[in-house]
């Protein structure tokens, strides 16, 4: 097991380095400098600014400095647009917010999705099943950027129950809509995967044996059917997590929750290269880390996988 984890780590680390180098080079291959503005700066001033941010050094050296800073000190450097901000400061301010509603959404998507899928499979071809399948199919076409305005129309504008945006230190009325908007489409996918996987498991021989020896239905489902059912679900968690990370950008933008997504979009619009680079790397590192976790979790209960 340990050697498997180590081997996966050996793949994850170069991936992360490739990501950092790729993003860095893309940023520097872009035409123009981040300090080009409508009003041309005197060459001396421009040279001073470039020296301050280390942009006058040769590119390989800049890349090396950046890599060393990120890897050893977790330092993404200063913002190019806001002189009093650093990328680390932005992450420290916004990331806890994103993490809070992101974790909640993930839990909601998994718990609700699995329960919906299992219920549908156990009551196959009843109205509960049809309802669950119908809901999850249409919910798949409702990504977060469609859900968010629909929720605001219903709960803020028509009913007036929930605030249409803001964070307020995570008070629960402010958390509900972001969590629903972010989790719905993933919950739907998880429900669909769980349902079909559960149906397949329930038709397999070992479940028939369990039934034949007279086990009660609940024991069959919980003790025997649940574990193999969860395998495809676990392998979907990686892509779901990536989707949620990406979706959090929309949530931060639409609900003004103050997470890193809004900073990301603003940095993209302002061409604030260092903030964009830092946040892209952060999102990428989270993705790689989570894929690693999913692989390990996936390998753990499956007797077919040997390390």
């Amino acid at each position: 097991m340990l050697s498997y984890v180590l081997r996966r780590l050996l793949v994850a680390i170069p991936t992360l380095l490739v990501l950092i180098v790729l993003c860095f080079l893309l940023m520097h291959a872009a035409p123009g400098s981040p300090f080009n503005s409508e009003r041309a700066l005197p060459p001396q001033v421009l040279a001073n600014i470039e020296a301050k941010y280390g942009l006058d050094k040769p590119l390989p050296l800049q890349l090396w400095d950046y890599l060393v800073g990120v890897v050893t000190r977790f330092d993404f450097g200063p913002s190019f647009v806001y002189r009093d901000r650093t990328v680390n400061g932005i992450i420290a301010q916004g990331f806890p917010v994103t993490l809070t509603y992101g974790t909640l959404s993930f839990l909601v998507a998994v718990l609700a999705g699995v329960s919906l899928g299992v219920t549908a499979a156990l009551r196959q071809n009843t109205w509960i099943d049809y309802l669950a399948v119908g809901t999850s199919f249409s919910a798949q076409a409702l990504p977060n950027f469609v859900m968010a305005p629909i929720l605001v129309i219903i709960f803020t504008w028509k009913l007036g129950w929930l605030p249409g945006g803001g964070w307020n230190n995570g008070a629960w009325p402010y958390v509900i809509m972001p969590v629903i908007a972010l989790s719905t489409s993933f919950m739907a996918s998880i429900a669909r995967i769980t349902r079909s996987s559960m149906l397949e498991v329930l038709n397999s021989n070992f479940i028939r044996t369990a039934k034949a020896k007279g086990l009660p239905g609940r024991a069959i489902v919980w003790r025997h059917a649940m574990k193999p059912t969860m395998m495809p679900v676990v392998s979907y968690l990686g892509p779901a997590f990536v989707g949620m990370i990406t979706g959090s950008v929309v949530i931060d933008m639409y609900f003004s929750t103050g997470g890193i997504g809004l900073f990301y979009v603003n940095s993209a619009l302002n061409r604030d290269y260092s903030v964009m680079l830092g946040l892209t790397i952060l999102y990428g590192a989270l993705t790689i880390l989570f894929n690693l976790l999913t692989d390990v979790v996936y390998a753990w209960p499956d007797p077919k996988i040997r390390y």
Binding site: V11, A12, P14, T15, V18, L19, L22, C23, L26, M27, A29, A30, P31, F137, S138, Q140, A141, L142, P143, F145, V146, A148, P149, V152, I153, W157, G164, V242, I245, T246, V249, V250, M253, Y254, V265, A268, L269, R271, M276, T280, Y283, G284, T287, I288, N291
Partner: protein, 308 residues
Amino acid sequence: MTQIQTRTDRIAEATTDAAIHGRSLWRDALNRFLRNRAAVGAVIALLLVVAFVLIGPAFSRFSNEEIDWALMGDVAGQGGPSLANGHYFGLDELGRDLYARTIQATGTSLTVGIIGAAVAVIIGTLYGAFAGYVGGSTDNLMMRAVDILLAVPSMFIIILLLVMFGRSFSMLFVGIGAVSWLEMSRIVRGQTLSLRGREFIEAARAAGVSTPKIILRHIVPNLMGVVVVYATLLVPQIILTESFISFLGLGVQEPATSLGALISAGASTITFGTVWQLAFPLFFFLVTIISLFFIGDGLRDALDPKDR
């Protein structure tokens, strides 16, 4: 004697007839697809959307860039959908005709989806077929590279490209195409591996056909079933990606527009009560996406030999 002769002739005729009217794989798949009611309904819905994009402009009384000065001061009050003043879908927040804008946006989104999928399919198929056919360390190296690129969150790379090299249509295609071919190449490689050992490939090699020609003439045509299914499922994915980017304001720029951009604009003005600005683009978005999902599912059931 002659009677017997004609009878055998007739039988021979009938049997050759039967042989000629054999069913090909594609004919078979078409029959299976036509029996799937949801998929056929989805095809009709999609054709209606395409017809709306192609024929719709003929019924429009306004262009997509024209501002209706008479109504623009009171969009929330008088700018709603109305047959009387010719704004069938109402006005957008600047006083432009939403009917013309929705046609333009639906057209953009469909184009992006189809061209993006085509780019991804061409690159992915050639890459995967080459890696799978050549095999060995070349294959290993090529697929490792794909694995590493797949681990990178693609949406952020597309946005990075768009920001760095300007938000243009062509950059959008390059960005989306550059990341969507990865999954395709893996699927194609897997299929190629199973084709590689077959007799007809061996025969081609023995006859001295060159590697590129074997890949193009013998491998790729045999991959078509998988490729078609995957391409159909890729189109809605790409439309979703593009809409996501346009929703953030990082996609196509004015005066061009896409469904994502219209949904974004509509979503930001709903507090003024202009629900139609969200409802019409959203309707066309959902119809397009859902029908493409159903068509993809139907094609998979019809073409995928695994689930038969």
